[in-house]
């Protein structure tokens, strides 16, 4: 589904990714772990197509298409969802309005019919309920006045409504208490644990991986994957720390 080869990227002339190679197949959950400054968030932004992040070498293909050749909104329409570590506030725009505009933009880009108002409301209400977000919350402005945990749950509601093929989730577990972590983790499993979908979980800690069990775990350091393995690698990291393993 996703094939990253020898990816080099920089921001403001500063090299962050140094030849990262990674392949994610359909039905797989990959966890990317690593110390601060390893380039984890940069990887998310480069995949999402954030302006300012310049790819200097390497390639990324998504379902056979050249991902790097696409604008951010085209990547979204192609089925890539980026869960933000710090979801952005948009004053004056309600979550419902935002999400509906987003969903219909994607549908139009794919040549599909727009979703009806009724269908959309049912869908967003159902996703909201599954993630503990009331309709009242969804009618409020995008992330404005939301706590850290509410913002993350809101990201999952968006993911549920948009129903992407590939979710790149950047530190989705940060700022969550144990109950919220459970809700978010279950959400990821329910929405994304499907044979035709895949997940790239960017995280610092084991705790989300207890709920969303990864098939593969990679350690990112200095902009490259320095080690890959199964779920046991994450546990080992938890015990021994990054220092020992990344060395």
């Amino acid at each position: 589904m996703l094939k990253i080869e020898n990816l080099h990227a920089e921001i403001d002339g500063k090299q962050i990714l140094n030849g990262l190679t990674l392949s994610v197949g359909a039905g797989e959950v990959h966890a990317i772990m690593g110390p601060n400054g390893a380039g984890k968030s940069t990887l998310g932004y480069v995949l999402g197509g954030r302006p300012g992040y310049e790819v200097t070498q390497g390639s990324v293909s998504f379902e056979g298409q050249d991902l790097l050749d696409m604008a951010a909104n085209e990547r979204a329409a192609a089925g890539l969802f980026l869960g933000f570590q710090y979801p952005v506030e948009i004053p004056g725009v309600s979550n419902v309005q935002f999400l509906r505009t987003a969903l219909n933009s994607q549908r139009r880009a794919r040549g599909e019919a727009e979703i009806s108002a009724g269908d959309f409301l049912r869908l967003s209400k159902a996703e909201g309920e599954a993630l503990g977000m009331s309709m009242d919350m969804l009618k409020r402005n995008v992330n404005v006045g939301f706590s850290g945990g509410e913002k993350k749950r809101n990201e999952m509601v968006q993911m549920g409504v948009i129903d992407p093929k590939l979710a790149v989730l950047d530190e989705t577990d940060s700022g969550l208490d144990i109950d919220a972590l459970r809700v978010v983790g279950d959400g990821i499993n329910r929405i994304m644990r499907q044979p035709h979908k895949a997940v790239l979980l960017i995280t610092h800690y084991q705790r989300l991986l207890d709920i969303v069990a990864p098939d593969f775990v990679h350690v990112l350091a200095d902009g490259r994957i320095v080690r890959s393995g199964g779920p046991e690698l994450a546990l080992q990291l938890e015990r021994e720390g990054y220092g020992a393993i990344a060395a």
Binding site: R50, N73, I90, G92, N141, I162
Partner: protein
């Protein structure tokens, strides 16, 4: 097009001026000759069959205008206007008859489409031959619906007329209130308007009547072209309510470069007037050439106790906008509101805001201004909040936000606060911001293209104002904001 009209007008004028009694008595002509003098004023008045007092009123304004000077304090670069190089009266012009929409400027059609204007309405707006009857059918179902509307208004006792008709049919009412809110000498352009106003609207809502529908100039679109010196007078008698919509979201082109309208609102005890405007006059090309100069004087008097006037405006058009819809809050407990979104792009200039003059005790006012600047434009909020010594317990809250798109535009905030009564509570807040890269990327990552993302964020920025608009206006206004900012990012 303009040349043809000018030539026709010139010929008509030439014919008239050779007439031995002067053209002023010859009202068969369709045009007053170029230029402005007392005879022009007499011609206009005669053309409209006005009573003597009306002519005298106009002449008085004209004489006062001669002694006045153009305003210079606004943050506007106004090219010199040659008032003698213009026509002040022409019969409603015949737009060039077009056979079908295929003959309309494709740029205009594209905008119509983006606004979601139905095909039949597009034809009316564009001036396609024979479209009007069809459009009336399309918009109002049938001519009889329009008639039903009129009957319904009449049954309620509401007077809704062109001001020319009202001067003839309700001279006492018009005479009582015309110029009572905006005195002739108020400012240069209002004075000019008083002398030469072509037409406009008169509304009277009788005591205790809630006007059964939103009144709109849109009803009369193309039925009467009210021209460049429009005059509107709305009187809401005790305990009445009216919501009035002015303008149209469709881009309007006009050969008249100068527009100097005057709008006067009078609210008596417990009356409420809601006045909503969407202004989308031609802003000129990317260099600002050919755009409309919109110098409007709008003022309301909340004359009665507990009366309320609410101005809502969405200003996206015109090359230059100079406009301060204001409230004189004279009645005890009266309420004034001003909600404004002003968008400027390319070389547009807008200097707009409001004045809230608190005279009555317990009067309150709210000002919410959202300015959006893009391109090489300049957007100024200018507002005055004044509390007179006798006005106890006045409350005002002002929120002024500016959004800049790009680093070549300007956003200015010029509030004046003048308070003479200690019991007043006056608060003013202002912010200046841009659309953040984070917001843009977030929206784009969710699938919006850059233009839609800007439109969405801008609409969020302006939401407090847009939600004051009547529903059908609000939807169009939202689309309009997006269209006005096209090409401002990327």
């Amino acid at each position: 097009m303009t040349d043809i009209r000018n030539r026709e007008a010139q010929e008509a004028a030439d014919r008239a001026s050779t007439y031995e009694w002067g053209f002023s008595s010859d009202i068969e002509q369709d045009f007053a000759p170029k230029g402005l003098n007392e005879d022009t004023v007499r011609f206009i008045s005669a053309k409209k069959n006005e009573p003597e007092w009306m002519l005298e009123w106009r002449l008085k304004a004209y004489r006062a205008w001669l002694t006045m000077e153009e305003v210079s304090w606004a943050k506007l670069d106004i090219p010199a206007i040659d008032f003698q190089d213009a026509y002040y009266y022409a019969e409603p012009r015949a737009k060039p008859k077009l056979g079908s929409l295929d003959e309309v400027d494709p740029e205009i059609l594209r905008v119509y489409e983006k606004l979601g204007i139905p095909i039949e309405e597009q034809k009316v707006l564009a001036g396609v031959e024979g479209a009007r009857r069809v459009a009336v059918d399309a918009v109002f179902d049938s001519v009889s619906v329009a008639t039903t509307f009129r009957k319904e208004l009449e049954a309620a006792g509401v007077i809704f007329r062109s001001i020319s008709e009202a001067i003839r049919e309700y001279p006492d009412l018009v005479r009582q209130y015309l110029g009572s809110v905006v005195p002739q000498r108020d400012n240069y352009f209002a004075c000019l308007n008083s002398a030469v106003f072509s037409d406009g609207t008169f509304v009277y809502i009788p005591e205790g009547v809630r006007c059964p529908m939103e009144l709109s100039t849109y009803f009369r679109i193309n039925a009467e072209n009210t021209g460049q010196f429009e005059r509107t007078l709305i009187v809401a008698d005790k305990g009445s309510y009216v919501s009035y919509l002015e303008g149209c979201t469709a881009p309007m082109r006009d050969e008249n470069q100068l527009h100097a309208a005057v709008v006067e609102l009078v609210a008596l005890d417990d009356a409420e007037i809601k006045y909503s405007t969407v202004q989308n006059w031609y802003p000129g090309d990317a260099e600002g050439k050919g755009g409309i100069y919109n110098f409007v004087t709008k003022r309301a008097i909340c004359a009665g106790a507990r009366s309320k006037v609410s101005w809502t405006q969405v200003e996206t058009g015109s090359a230059i906008t100079w406009k301060y819809p204001s409230c004189i809050l004279k009645g005890e407990g009266s309420v004034g509101e001003f909600y404004s979104v002003a968008v400027t792009n390319n070389r547009q200039q807008a200097d707009t805001g409001t004045k809230m003059i608190h005279i009555g005790k317990n009067s309150r006012s709210t000002i919410v201004s959202k300015g959006i600047s893009a391109g090489k434009s300049n957007n100024t909020y200018r507002g005055l909040v004044r509390v007179n010594a006798g006005a106890e317990n006045v409350r005002n809250f002002t929120q002024c936000d500016s959004l800049l798109l790009g680093d070549q535009c300007g956003a200015h905030t010029v509030p004046y606060i003048e308070v003479k009564n200690p019991s007043a509570q006056i608060e003013h807040e202002a912010t200046t911001s841009k659309i953040s890269d984070d917001q843009m990327f977030y929206a784009q990552q969710r699938g919006l293209n850059a233009e839609d993302a800007v439109a969405l964020i801008v609409n969020g920025f302006a939401k407090e104002v847009l939600q004051q608009l009547p529903m059908e206006f609000a939807v169009e206004a939202q689309k309009l904001l997006g269209i006005s900012l096209e090409g401002s990012v990327g």
